[in-house]
């Protein structure tokens, strides 16, 4: 079984994100970038399937600038066998390479690589669209198991436990299928030093959107990006009556 794992290069989750002075987006220059945490979970899951003998090859894929090779190397240090970078200098964000464009790129790669399973993060922590997996499954006509917290692969089928609003839902999908990962699926390992060194020698293909026949012209226009208004400090009320009065007359919610 072959697994394709799409990953995204995003601002590291530890970085305090700053909006650019001209409100055109967030500051990306000289900011620490990392693999999207949900995608790390996807890589880990794929590696576990390989270690348990269920998968034979893991291909990590990303769309991004030249520098995104670093994130592919990280994926390969954790256990991906090879990597593909679809190179573009456009931001992988709304108004840049949008979820549908990403899904189309991935579709082209799935048709070329013919994996049995695509495992990807349920969303990226930068624009939080949470759409790419669903779009890709629809474009491919594949069954999808989103927000997975447990995964079992047996006899050409994958059983997925999903985290849904009402609790947990279990689905069985026929391969080929697409899975998006939730936080509780696994805890990604730390890359090992020998594997980091080996990852340098693994195959990393660099291609571009036109070679895959995809167009990255944005369909959305970003008008303005701003920081959310700062939260005002709370106050203490001295009685229930005062609280009701404030809710009625100040907040006007009752």
């Amino acid at each position: 079984m072959k697994i394709l794992v799409p990953i995204k290069r995003v601002i590291d989750y530890n970085v305090r994100v700053r909006v650019k002075a001209d409100s055109s987006g967030v500051e990306l220059a000289n900011i620490k970038m990392s693999v999207n945490p949900f995608d790390e979970i996807a890589i880990e899951e794929a590696v576990r399937l390989k270690e348990s003998g269920k998968a034979t090859e893991i291909i990590a894929v990303t769309i991004g600038p030249d520098k995104a090779q670093e994130q592919l190397r990280t994926a390969m240090a954790i256990g991906a066998d090879r990597g593909i970078l679809v190179k573009t200098d456009a931001p992988i964000d709304l108004g840049g390479v949008e979820p549908l464009a990403v899904a189309r790129t991935l579709k082209a790669l799935v048709e070329r690589e013919k994996p049995d399973l695509v495992i990807m993060g349920k969303q990226s922590i930068d624009d939080d669209s949470g759409q790419t997996g669903q779009m890709l499954a629809a474009l491919l006509g594949w069954p999808q198991g989103t927000f997975a917290s447990k995964l079992e692969v047996n006899d050409g089928k994958v059983t997925v436990t999903r985290e849904v609003d009402g609790g947990l839902e279990t689905l069985t999908l026929t391969l080929p299928a697409l899975i998006t990962t939730d936080l509780r699926l696994n805890e990604p390992r730390y890359a090992k030093l020998p594997d980091i060194m080996k990852a340098k020698k693994k195959e990393l293909e660099i291609t571009d959107p036109s070679a895959l026949g995809v167009d990255y012209t944005p369909r959305l226009q970003v008008l303005k990006v701003s920081t959310p208004p700062e939260r005002k400090g709370g106050g203490r009320v001295s009685s229930v009556d005062e609280l009701i009065d404030k809710l009625k007359n100040e907040a006007k919610v009752i």
Binding site: N30, K32, E70, Y190, L193, K200
Partner: protein
């Protein structure tokens, strides 16, 4: 709760922009090394440090190590979580990062190991003792052991399933190893029966590894008196052929001021089976090889503690609201200004920053020279690098550990009462940092090593290895307008260093007491000049990047500002040290013991 995030931006700046460490890939054995690989390794290594090791630092301090009695033999339990953390660290291959690949190591350059050591010591200095000592044992066996010993011990040490110790100190001898009493008697099978008591043995007994490999200094029956009669032995806790228990037992553990999660043991050897490493009576030479590595390791403890203390002092100064700025409120909408507005608080933070960033450049430079000294194909280049490492080792050890303590104390001062109580975790840094000034040769001994051994070596050859490039730097950059405020103070401090060097060389030849009396101040003066040179080099790179419009402008501007702070408010200490060093021994020595 204290915070720590690895200063990867600054580490990359030093490695790539200032030192060009990727040039090491031209050396045989380092062909695979590259800037990308270095970044990737340090990035992953920093995760283990910041996430796994750092989270055990406070709990490890509070819990400490416990001596337990089980089936007649004692054992030491490390604090909760240490075993799991060690397993993660070991499984990741980090124990053998700089070890020879021929024996299971990863063969990465020492400069990368130096950066890793800094991060480990920032995250958890106690934890770092265990792999640190194993690495020292690996190097000693690698350098002096015969092939049979190497085959048995090195792969296990590189993998980290076995750990190492250095058993030098005895109750009656610390600094003066000539007084060693432990005896080794040759046996018919070629091994030795080793008997004696060793104290202050770090990692002497613990539950992290399957076996513990003690490197023990002892005397053979025919040994001459003093340091010329000590030999080095390998004494494993479990004998490697059948893993039966050897007669080497932990008698007690010490209750210490700091690094409480590091097990410090009394080790009793009772006819324990051991094997000779290197030649009989030449143990001191082997021990010095081990010590030199260990001294650079301890220097990284000073830097590591200073870095984490600096980060916390800075974070607190930005968030603690007290008083208003002297020239009026800076944050009128808040109940008070954050204390970082105050000049004296800034003084403390900037001393911390000026030291840590300068010492990072200094330490990594020496890490790189160590690589050149080991791997360069040209013998003269190797010798030159080896000279620099030998000269700078006592300076790094003493200065960086003194400053580790100082920065930890400054951080407590920034926190005020909140630093003095345990809750915020910064008083631990003061306690942990303190030992680094003492062990692996107390800092006074480092100063004697500098003036007594390193200075006269090769008629000043070691000194010239430092003086010449500094001189050249001043000549090449003295005309540069943009760097005037950095290069001029360096030039001035450098000429005073040459004066005190000449004075000590002359007076010290006639009267060693004169050299001894000047030694500590001279070492500090030397260290400050070395740091000033590093700040000039960093400032020059920052200036170039700004002019070329490359990289993060704010980062480079902060570098230049910190460089100026160093020149104006830290380097002047070199002047007072110069005066003290030049004052001579008379006032130090004239009081009789009774007159005190």
């Amino acid at each position: 709760m204290p915070v720590y995030s690895a200063p990867l931006d600054d580490i990359r700046f030093v490695l790539h922009d200032v030192l060009g460490a990727e040039s090491l890939s031209a050396l045989p054995g380092y062909e695979e090394f590259s800037a990308d690989l270095a970044d990737q390794i340090l990035e992953e290594g920093s995760k283990i440090c910041a996430e796994v090791l750092f989270s055990l630092n406070q709990s490890g301090d509070q819990e400490g190590c416990v001596l337990e009695n089980g089936d007649g033999l004692t054992s030491v339990r490390t604090p909760a979580g240490f075993k799991t953390a060690y397993d993660t660290f070991r499984d990741g291959g980090w124990c053998g990062i700089a070890c020879d690949p021929a024996y299971g190591g990863m063969g990465m350059p020492h400069v990368i190991n130096t950066a890793m050591k800094e991060m480990i010591c920032s995250a958890n200095m106690s934890f770092g003792m265990y792999p640190g000592l194993s690495y020292g044992a690996f190097e000693a066996i690698h350098k002096f052991g015969d092939e049979a010993l190497k085959t048995i011990y090195l792969p296990k040490l590189a993998e980290g399933v076995w750990s190492g110790t250095m058993c030098l100190t005895e109750p009656q001898c610390g600094t003066d190893l000539g007084l060693i009493k432990t005896r080794a008697v040759p046996q018919d099978d070629g091994s030795y029966a080793v008997t004696g008591t060793k104290i202050f043995i770090s990692a002497g007994e613990h539950d992290l590894t399957e076996n513990i490999i003690h490197l023990v200094l002892a005397r053979l029956p025919d040994a001459p008196e003093g340091v010329k009669g000590i030999s080095l032995f390998i004494v494993p806790k479990f004998l490697p052929d059948d893993m039966s228990r050897n007669a080497v037992v932990c008698g007690a553990i010490e209750h210490k001021m700091g690094i409480k999660a590091s097990s410090t043991c009394v080790i009793n050897l009772d006819e324990a089976k051991g094997w000779l490493i290197g030649e009989p009576h030449k143990g001191l030479r082997a021990m010095f090889a081990m010590m030199n590595d260990a001294r650079l390791g301890v220097a990284m403890q000073g830097l590591g503690i200073a870095e984490v203390a600096y980060q916390n002092g800075l974070a607190y100064a930005k968030e603690r609201l007290q008083m208003r700025a002297l020239d009026g409120a800076k944050f009128p909408d808040k109940p008070a200004d954050p204390i970082i507005v105050h000049p004296d608080v800034r003084r403390m933070i900037l001393i911390s920053k000026g030291f840590t960033e300068g010492a990072r450049a200094l330490s990594y430079w020496i890490g790189m020279e160590l690589d050149i000294s080991l791997k360069h194909p040209d013998a003269d280049t190797r010798q030159a690098a080896d000279d620099i490492v030998a000269l700078m080792t006592p300076i790094l050890k003493a200065y960086q550990t003194d400053m580790g303590s100082e920065v930890a104390n400054l951080t407590v001062q920034i926190y005020g009462g909140h630093g003095y109580i345990q809750e915020h975790g910064v008083e631990q840094y003061v306690r942990d940092a303190r030992i680094a000034q003492i062990y692996e040769g107390a800092n006074g001994i480092q100063a004697l090593d500098l003036v007594g051994r390193k200075m006269p070596q090769g008629y000043g050859r070691l000194l010239r290895r430092f003086f010449h490039p500094v001189q050249r730097f001043i000549e090449e950059n003295g005309e540069d307008e943009a760097l005037q405020d950095l290069v001029f103070p360096l030039a001035r401090a450098f000429s005073k260093l040459q004066q005190s060097t000449a004075m000590i060389a002359q007076k010290g030849l006639k009267d060693p007491v004169e050299a001894g009396a000047a030694s500590s101040d001279y070492l500090r003066q030397f260290a400050l000049v070395a740091l000033a040179w590093m700040w000039c080099r960093m400032g020059r790179v920052a200036q170039e990047r700004i002019s070329a419009g490359q990289g993060d402008k704010a980062f480079y501007e902060a570098k230049l500002k910190t460089a100026r702070f160093f020149m104006q408010r830290m380097l002047p200490e070199a002047d007072s040290r110069f005066k003290m060093a030049m004052a001579g021994a008379e006032s130090l020595m004239s009081l009789s013991a009774e007159e005190f």
